[in-house]
């Protein structure tokens, strides 16, 4: 599975667990408009670390945090590559 597919499916999973309604996923969707709250993001990052093996928020020297779904995926693809 590609990093993108993993991230998008984990977003669906976390949203379902925490009973959040997701906005339609597009690359330029702002993370904060996605329907996920900070607890959802925290859970997502932890689950992705277990699946992909990396936490780019901690591992990356890049201090620019992602703002959109597309940037989030790129953030992971960048460190996973």
């Amino acid at each position: 599975m590609s990093t993108r597919t993993i991230i998008l499916s984990q977003i669906q999973q976390v949203a379902a667990e925490q009973k959040k309604t997701l906005a339609p996923m597009t690359d330029d969707l702002s993370l904060l408009d996605s329907g996920l709250d900070s607890l959802c993001f925290a859970t997502l990052v932890a689950r992705l670390e277990d699946i992909i093996g990396v936490d780019p928020f901690t591992a990356s020297a890049d201090v620019k945090f992602p703002n959109t779904i597309g940037e989030l995926i790129a953030f992971y693809e960048h460190v996973a590559a």
């Binding site: 925490q18 702002s30 904060l32 993001f41 932890a46 945090f65």
Partner: protein
């Protein structure tokens, strides 16, 4: 150095009157000068004098009005946090010896509390007939989320609460504050008091208000000083609306501030001083760290300005200062300070290269974005699941909320790890626990380590 005689909030406010200061929220605002001759407490204002008052005003704006009106007027104010469960009210009334409750005028009076006076707090402010002389040295009581049982009631005075706030000088530029915190808890109350003691206004986040809407409002209000937890700030960093504010001062507190979030904020707001502060309801404001790095210099340990003293006892930070709370209320309350006057923060410290780093809470308490989770409470829920033999709940480090709840679960003999069992356990927790207490990660393990005294090994 002795503390100056504490003024009432009304006197502090009067020093900055006449410039149109306000507390702004998404759905309303409070013009501070109006409190000079108006009231949120209607005809009950006079009858509240000298009372021990439980303040549950329903929202932050009403709370702000009532605090300003009642400081110096009430004998004691118990400031209830927004998530206070009604079942704790009778114990709070008992331990605070309260004889009045101020409640939000938009809702029904609270049930089941025996007090002489139930006073609604309502906005907009109404004209007040009397000119009060505020002569009481009001005791302020804050609640800390007890991990089990009733919340602990922590007694302060205006002097201990404002001990870290430098007195405003008429020459100083106005500080326009904003905070992500709720002013009904210690961290937010600190910012409220800074705003009152300063010359500027205060922007507060309304219930459920989106981060970007709040940032846009803060930007429009000309906010110069803004505070939140590292978790709040990580959300700001992920938000394009972050550029709508241009602060002079960015403050992080309430959780461990790591260098990633400090560096990112320094880069985003190059003009701002980015500081992280150590404070807690019991220990008061400890100190602020301004060197742009995580942790604090080991040279902070020992005697500091204003007679404050910091030391490490059994690995955790202990503080003695004029800003710590006085005591816990209640008949069987534990001592808040030790024999030497130190308050144990329970925050564990690791010393590396002449610098002290916070590494977590004593007793395994998990700090999820500023909210405290007692592992035993979560374990009790997991252990009730029919397939579960035992569980160990622990913190998992997290870049968004600082930490998350993770659970190691041992299944009963003969139970197969069916797909969906993890989801079932998580769902059971979600039904019975607040969202931040629900394990984000569940792992099945063959056994849990037990230490020499027969308790679950909670280290690591």
């Amino acid at each position: 150095m002795s503390q100056p005689e504490p003024l009432s909030l009304t006197e502090l406010l009067a020093a900055g009157a006449g410039v149109g200061r306000a507390i702004g929220m998404a759905d309303g605002s409070l013009v501070l000068d109006d409190l000079a001759d108006k009231t949120s407490l209607g005809g009950n204002f006079d009858a509240l004098e000298g009372r021990a008052i439980v303040l549950m005003a329903g929202d932050q704006l009403r709370t702000a009005a009532a605090l300003i009106e009642l400081d110096g007027w009430a004998r004691r104010i118990v400031l209830c946090p927004p998530d206070l469960e009604p079942k704790h009210l009778s114990a709070i009334v008992r331990d605070a010896e309260a004889d009045a409750i101020v409640y939000g005028g938009q809702s029904e009076p609270p049930q089941g509390a025996a007090v002489a006076l139930l006073a609604p707090c309502a906005l907009p402010l109404q004209p007040r007939a009397t000119k009060p002389v505020r002569a009481h040295a009001t005791e302020w009581v804050l609640l800390t989320s007890g991990t089990t049982g009733d919340p602990k009631m922590v007694a302060h005075t205006l002097a201990t609460l404002t001990g870290a706030i430098a007195p405003g000088s008429p020459q100083a530029a106005a500080q326009n504050w904003a905070t992500f915190y709720d002013i009904r808890r210690y961290g937010g109350l600190q910012i409220f008091l800074r705003a009152v003691a300063g010359l500027g206004s205060l922007t507060l986040r309304s219930d459920g208000e989106a981060i970007d809407d709040f940032l846009i409002r803060a930007g429009a209000a000309g906010v110069t000083h803004i505070s939140g937890t590292p978790s709040h700030w990580r959300l700001v960093l992920m938000n394009a609306a972050a550029r709508r504010i241009d602060p002079d001062y960015v403050r992080l507190s309430g959780e461990i501030a790591d260098s990633a979030v400090i560096d990112a904020l320094t880069k985003l707001f190059p003009r701002a001083r980015v500081a992280h502060a150590f404070a807690s309801t019991e220990a008061g404001v400890g100190f602020e760290v301004n060197d742009g790095k995580a942790g604090f210099p080991a040279s902070y340990l020992g005697k500091r300005e204003n007679g404050a003293f910091f030391k490490i006892i059994d690995g955790s930070l202990a503080i003695r200062s004029g800003r710590t709370a006085l005591r816990y209320l209640g008949d069987n309350a534990p001592a808040l300070r030790d024999a030497d006057g130190f308050v144990d923060t329970g925050d564990m410290i690791e010393l590396r290269d002449d610098r002290c780093y916070f590494v977590g809470r004593r007793g395994g308490i998990i700090n999820v974005g500023g909210a405290k989770v007692n592992p035993e409470e979560v374990e009790a829920v997991i252990n009730r699941h029919a397939s579960v033999h035992a569980s160990l709940v622990k913190a998992r480090r997290n870049p968004i909320t600082g930490a998350l709840v993770a659970a190691d679960v041992v299944l009963n003999e003969g139970v197969v790890e069916a797909p969906g069992l993890k989801d079932e356990i998580i769902a059971a927790c979600a039904r019975q626990l607040a969202p931040y207490k629900v394990p984000a990660l569940v792992r099945f393990v063959p056994a849990l380590a037990v230490n020499a005294s027969g308790k679950l090994a909670r280290n690591g």
